[in-house]
Amino acid sequence: MEKTLNNKAWFFVLPVLLLVAFSAVVPLMTVVNYSVQDSFGNNQFFWYGADWFREVLTSERFHDALIRNLIFSAIILAIEVPLGILVALAMPKKGIFVPVCLVLMALPLLIPWNVVGTIWQVFARTDIGLLGYTIDALGIDYNYVRYPLDAWVTVIVMDVWHWTSLVVLLCYAGLVSIPDAYYQAAKIDGASRWAVFRYIQLPKMGRVLLIAVLLRFMDSFMIYTEPFVVTGGGPGNSTTFLSIDLVKLAIGQFNLGEAAAMSLIYFLIVLLLSWVFYTVMTNAGTDKPLKGGAE
């Protein structure tokens, strides 16, 4: 088919172009601009080249925060994805409890981040918090302000509480779309409960599971508000994730150049890892190329 060339088309793309430019491209370019300069008072800027990048990439502080963040995301995915699938499998498929369950599941998702942080900050306190006080009363020496491990557990449990429902809701949507005939056929084929999950439910959930994993990875890798409210990155630096570190650097120390370089590196890591997840998960179920066989 002959393609029609019409330069008027550009005119129609223009509003979107402007919108994207002001919402994404211009701010991003500002960051790029900062990342190659050093700034001093009175708005003085000096060319700094790629040195900020070199400095960030070799700094121990950045490495530690990155490793903390990777471990955090790995734990979050390892808990929330299987747990979300299990809860979705256990939810009723029909009846009056369906809307009840759905609303209950959706509730944590509707609470703003900092409110979630505040709730858990109070909830886990050993002096007035129900959870912290109870654990302490049981004879366990728990204190998220003092012990790094306790701080981690608190932040992880909080995130699981806040976000597992997202995985549940996505998986549930995948599950209810499976026609009854599949379960009937599996019954007739003598499939075990595990085989039904492995060969019917899991493949049918694949698409939504991919979205769930991506969303949960990106969100947990960029987590800021909740740990900031609960632990403020402490004790010590034990819960200082990349975003918290970034804010300390940019606003606390007002080191705009290094912070900009770190933002860009941070952004590229998220992008790269998301792409890896996406590629791996979409290729997982496809045909391996056969020798000499045309698709």
Partner: protein, 358 residues
Amino acid sequence: MARIRLDHIRHAYSPELAKAGNYALREVDTAFEDGGAYALLGPSGCGKTTLLNIISGLLTPSDGHVRFDDRDVTMLTPEARNIAQVFQFPVIYDTMTVRENLAFPLKNRKVPKAEIATRVDDMLRRIGLAAKADRKARGLTADEKQKISLGRGLVRSDVAAILFDEPLTVIDPHMKWQLRSELKQLHREFQMTMVYVTHDQTEALTFADKVVVMYDGEVVQIGTPEELFERPQHTFVGYFIGSPGMNVLPCRLEGGEALVSGERIRLPAGLSPARSGRQIELGIRPEFVSLVPRGQGIPVTIEKVEDIGSEKIVRARLGEHRLSAIVGEDRPIPADADVAFSDGRLNLYADSWLVERA
């Protein structure tokens, strides 16, 4: 392989419905012989899928028993009954290859590996998918997928019966014929009891040795395609089978004659309902209605002629009743004509059921 005996089966989808007498399946008492190909034919909502699910064990009937040979299987699960079922939409295991799909029911039943391999290879050849054995099943076409789900049933050589629930619904029209004849071929090869649910009369008549016509939760007739055509036991069968369906004319009986809108029609000898006072109808297939010159038959008004290429369908009116006739393509159709009914083709119905000849 087994003979399937349906012993006074009734089914309602809830106890409340049963109490209200609202049965999806009112009463079915029949048997499917071992090795036969049966079609359950009827309009949507007549209970044919309910009956199929009762045979397969996906549903437990409210009343009655299902027996495979002499074994009462009413309370058994589908896998314990050892049946196979092909569904309306092809059910395949997406992540498995064609070969793994076919091996799946055997693997679940702990069949030895070597035997699985030989049986699966054999089945791949029979359903014509040997070339695609190691492809992922999800990339195949609908008819190939349907063959896989059939193969998963056939590969268990000991299945009691194979049940089909409108298996050709999603198949392209030009593939339907082919797949249907392949099914027939497989039936001949395996000699298994097959029960095939459909609302398409062509499908039922070409596939089955015996067609079970269902209407409103009941079996109205079981017979060969020929029997269904020539001697419909119920006016519904006459109307449902054939295109156009049988003409059904309400009438009154007087001696040996039937009165239809004041016109007298002579009945074959020995045909009279045992009891009077019932609703009497006359049934005649359009194929056995012919047009004759005015004055030689029963006067009708021709309203419309539909030319369908191979023949013409004449829509006429006899008094206040509609009447269809099928006439040859090359026969001229006069403006004024009478109709004549072929000898011995008239059926008499009392309260919708056929009156047997004495």
